[in-house]
Amino acid sequence: MAYSDKVIDHYNNPRNVGQLDKSKSEVGTGLVGAPECGDVMRLQIRVNPETKVIEEAKFKTFGCGSAIASSSLATEWVKGRTVDEALQIKNTDIVRELALPPVKIHCSVLAEDAIRAAIGDWKKKNGVAEGVPAAAAAAN
């Protein structure tokens, strides 16, 4: 099985590797893992408190090429979207974009869950109830 060109590109030139200050209120941190392969993925977002737009996203992933590519792509995709829009990203979109083979689908699931976990953490810090759109909460 060969990796697709897009996976190789993200693997060789991962976007947005790094760390944000997780103690800040506008930063949400998602840490997820897949025990069967030992992958662990940290995805962080910095959200503009006024517009609810994700202005910065960083990741650090320990795992296979597909896991790194999936999280790299996830940070690219969430940037510039609002929190509510970012929640619409599905693992199947990642699978399609990176042409992941069936055995690597769990890497994309991990990336989707990392996005959700990061947004969930941000919501918790900012008193937005889980499941409530951030835009609606802002209107209150």
Binding site: L31, G33, P35, G38, V40, F62, P101, H106, V109
Partner: protein
Amino acid sequence: MAIVETSSADAAACRSCAAPLTGQPAFCPACGKVQAPGPADYFSLFQLPRRLEIDLPALEAMFYRYSRKLHPDLHARATEEEQQWSTAQASLLNNAYRCLKDPVERTKYLLRLEGAPLEEDQAADGGRVNPSKAPADLLEEVFELNLQLEELRANRKLGEDDPFLRRDLEQSKTHFVAQLEAVDRELRSLWSAWDEAEERGDEAGKTGAKRDLAALLHRRTYLGNLVRDVNETLGDL
């Protein structure tokens, strides 16, 4: 492995002397002739109940006794069909013994036999693994450990060895090995939960034990991978 097609009526009788057979014994109890290997599970091959606490010396004795009876020399003058069966039975027996004598393999085998999904099977199928089931308390530690390992590898590339980092890693390793040992102790107590429920025929108890066992094996895999990674990195130096 040659599996000879038999109708259910045939399966219950010796292929040689037509004596009635119960279960799927390797040999006919009446005439002692080797039988065609059936789709028997490893437990019934050794005539054991599906329980996790196993008398290992008894299992070993049974394995050697069967192996001797299946030895090709004893079947050199048997029909070609019987020779094939004895080879197939011997190979089945080896697999069964190797699996049942190992505590973790035995537990995994029983869970699969009892239809409990294991995370590793789901991942291999490309199925959806719910990472929230990944032990949350471990993730933080795993991440930190991976950062340290990465730093150590980077240092090594520069030809440096950081004794403090190395000491930290040795400590992490001790910590994870201890957790792995705790998991193995817990595994044994869950075995009794399963065995007792199985003995009582308590379906709810069995379901609960299966779920707990699967979750524990999940944690064990995670810890095992960590210890392996630390060992590899430390060993490289």
